[in-house]
Amino acid sequence: MNEKTRNTLIIRFVITLLVILAINFFLPRMMPGDPFSTTSSDVQGEDIVTMTEEQRQYFISYYGMDLPLHEQFFRYLANMAHGDFGQSIYYKIPVTSVILIHLPWTILIIFCATALSTAVGIILGLISARNRKKRSDRVMMTGLIAFSEIPSFLLGIILLLIFCVWLKLLPLAGAVTPFAHYAGVVDQALDIAHHAFLPVLTLALAQLTGVYLLTRNTLITVSSKDYIRTAYAKGLGERIVWTRHALRNALLPVVTRTGFMIGLMMGGAVLVETVFSYPGIGLTLRSAVVNRDYALIQGILLVTAVSILLCNLLVDQVYRKLDPRVSD
């Protein structure tokens, strides 16, 4: 990469970031309502706070929302430059604290689920492609496609019923045992793994079929290519031809997909976090939107956008490693 392309790349990232910042700021404020005029409950039986107009005005000025919009925006940019994301209106603590509390849990389950679904998906895809037109391929394919039709929250509930209610092997909710005091790090890690198991499994299963199908289909396309025939002609064994020659070429689209999926999985995470009452950022974002917590919406969307940008960057790098033709 020469200096010029690097510079254009940086400029492009800065522009993207600015656009994201502006959208993050203005979009939430364009939604109807404000954080202090709730008149209905979200669910039956829920209590909501009642406020007089005077009290409402107090809160509006407390959070600086009585200033002109452009002034609020410049304030926001200035604060961002100092690394200050502002104060969450709903949670009453700094936005950075809210994100730091909840984001790691989502990263944990998304990362584990992506790793798991990608690894298993590739292996299954390889097996399936090698046994193409045989019975095992057909069974695997039908089974997995059928499986992928189950919505992830339903899948979550089924797993919850099996593992927590019938087998009583795993905890029902949360990310750790409430009020637990651990003997050591290992103890704590085990407790976290114990709680994360089902959310990870649910998310992974929901993604598995996509990876599997992509791997299988690309492998089948690749396997009819000339260089595969050449590889066989060189006298290489079937195992080496499939893993070294076919799989490596077939992995390109799979890697691209995994990169894009990270962003999409935020959506899946909301459902899974709801089912398992898992303290991730997805649920927090939902409550931020419902309650019009502008500062928090901005913060979470920004972090999400930046991590998607970083993922794309990472995918580019992995791509280069896999396919020498891409790097110039």
């Binding site: 008149t39 409950s41 909501i48 706070v49 007089t52 809160f59 949670y91 394919m141």
Partner: protein
């Protein structure tokens, strides 16, 4: 592909069966006793009156001090376990608490409270009248999320001596004692040095005079642990430790023994009925849905006959059966629900009556002249968009079906709930449905919702009981004006009875139905759960956690 299609269907069916079996394993018969009131059912007699520990449904509702809880959910009841008010509420009414007794001046503007002696804050410093004065003045500058008082109503607070404090109001407010009963007193010696209480999150922020101390709070996981305050001045604490823990599905967690109290959906009541281990009781009907007319934008809705026709045509009992599966009560046109202490049973009923609805519309001049099934008059059709939240679409569809029979056309318009709230506030809707709680509160809310005469108290209440835009009724306004000044409860009750009659005749809005959720708890663990007379949730009552003796004795 045909074969795989069948396999897919079979697998999907198996999964569905598994889920259904798990959710409703004892779904044999529908219960019909839902309308028999909150004293319904259950097996054994008395359960445990005291407990070492009780587990309840958790979730994060904020740090339990008045300025840092969240505006949604049971945050304020978590504050109430630590902080006390001058007065408290039991099953019948308002009872003395930090104040032993009180006096009201003849003009209704001066309230003198005589405070209990020997009350200590949880850090052992004495509680005095200065704390009460401080709380009021502090909250004029720093508005709490909940449990505050309308400071615009208060002229000043005077400390007479260490144990006597006087509130002077700008104008009389009949519900002032009620407001005082949820007004949490904070310690002066701690909060006077706090410039921004919304950021005050350390240990001393949760020092109150109340029955519990906060032992542990975890924002991340939504868990709270409360332990009994050994130095509590009042009745003995019945539950030594209360733990709120996160649950995914409340009923599953209850069945697994993780929590000791849960709500139950109507279709699995049989599982808990006549079982000596459980008590199964309905909540009072203090949460409900209201149906609004936009009389400002659509003058034809100002015709009372048209509104009455809506009331006859909408089948409110059907909504209770189909939406609530029986666990509810059809709305009263006098607004106050059946379980409200001042509910007037003597009011027009408006049971579902299509013929009456049709007659009323005919009388008002609305006839279907072009034969399209929709009534019209002077070229205007009786056709409206009904705004509601996306979770309430089924309510909208049932209303649509019934109104269609009367010749009124409805388009159901599902919105995100906050958008709907905003439209209601701005008057930017045609017809609208909204659900909220607080229907059991002091009947003064009839005045703040339906009277358009401006007073200081609750004049512009924006939350929940949003006032009804474009409604004006002179008779009601004058009743409301005397209600807010009436200090004699018996006389005020008579006025409130009259107000309900006026409303039921005039129908400014239609309460569709109130919910009556079923609660279940395990008798061997703890059986002290009670309802405050104005609130539906038992776990929110302070007295639920105390031995019912002395000032807290059962009434």
């Amino acid at each position: 592909m045909k074969k795989s299609g069948i396999i897919i269907i079979v697998i999907a069916l198996i999964c569905l069966a598994v889920v259904l079996a798990g959710c409703t394993s004892q779904n044999s018969s529908q219960t019909t006793s839902a309308s028999t009131g909150s004293a319904a059912t259950s097996g054994a007699g008395q359960g445990a009156t005291q407990a070492e520990i009780v587990h309840l449904t958790g979730g994060d509702y904020g740090y339990p001090q008045p300025f840092t809880i969240y505006p949604r959910g049971p945050g304020s009841s978590k504050v109430g376990m630590i902080f006390d008010s001058l007065l408290e509420r039991d099953e019948k009414g308002i009872i003395p608490w930090l104040a032993e007794r009180w006096e009201i001046s003849a003009d209704g503007k001066e309230y003198t409270f005589y405070l209990r002696k020997g009350v200590k804050w949880q850090d052992d410093l004495p509680f005095t009248a200065n704390d009460v004065k401080f709380t009021t003045e502090y909250e004029m500058k720093n508005v709490p999320v909940s449990g505050g008082i309308e400071t615009e109503l208060i002229d000043s607070v005077k400390v007479i001596d260490d144990n006597t404090v006087k509130f002077i109001l700008k104008e009389p407010a009949s519900s002032f004692l009620y407001k005082i009963s949820s007004y949490r007193i904070i310690p002066e010696h701690i909060y006077r040095n706090v410039t921004d209480p919304a950021k005050f999150l350390n240990k001393s922020a949760v020092i109150g005079t109340g029955p519990y101390k906060l032992a542990e709070y975890n924002k991340e996981h939504g868990s709270y642990r409360y332990v009994a305050n050994e130095g509590f001045w009042g009745p003995r604490v019945a539950v030594k430790t209360v733990e709120f823990i996160p649950v995914s599905n409340e009923l599953i967690a209850f069945d697994q023994g993780e929590i000791d109290f849960s709500s139950v959906t109507p279709d699995i009541l049989d599982k808990y009925k006549d079982n000596p281990k459980y008590r199964l009781v309905q909540q009072p009907d203090f949460w409900g849905y209201e149906f609004y007319f936009n009389m400002k934008k659509y003058p034809e809705l100002k015709d009372v006959r048209v509104r009455q026709a809506f009331a006859y045509a909408i089948n409110r009992s059907e909504l209770v059966d189909k939406i609530q599966r029986g666990a509810g009560e059809p709305g009263n046109l006098g607004i106050l629900p059946d379980n409200h202490i001042w509910y007037n049973a003597d009011q027009p009923e408006y049971a579902w009556d299509l013929a009456k609805a049709k007659t009323l519309l005919d009388e008002a001049g609305w006839k279907d002249t072009d034969g399209d099934g929709i009534r019209d008059k002077d070229g205007k059709k009786l056709s409206y968009a009904l705004s509601l939240a996306s979770t309430e679409v089924r309510i909208g569809e049932l209303i649509k079906e019934r109104l269609k029979e009367a010749g009124i056309d409805i388009q159901v318009k599902a919105l995100e709930s906050k958008a709907r709230d905003t439209n209601l506030k701005k008057g930017d809707f045609e017809l609208l449905v909204s659900g909220f709680g607080g229907w059991g509160q002091d009947a003064d809310y009839l005045r703040t919702r339906y009277s358009d005469a401006k007073t200081l108290s609750g004049s512009n209440t924006v939350a929940a009981q949003a006032s009804v835009i474009g409604y004006h009724n002179d008779a009601f306004n004058s009743l409301a004006a005397s209600e807010v000044k009436e200090l004699d409860d018996a006389k005020r009750k008579q006025i409130v009875f009259e107000m309900q009659k006026v409303l039921a005749d005039d129908i400014p809005t239609i309460p569709l139905f109130y919910t009556k959720t079923w609660d279940v708890w395990t008798l061997p663990t703890y059986d002290g759960w009670m309802n405050m007379y104005d609130h539906h949730a038992r776990t929110h009552s302070k007295l639920s956690y105390l031995v019912r003796e002395g000032i807290a004795a059962k009434r």
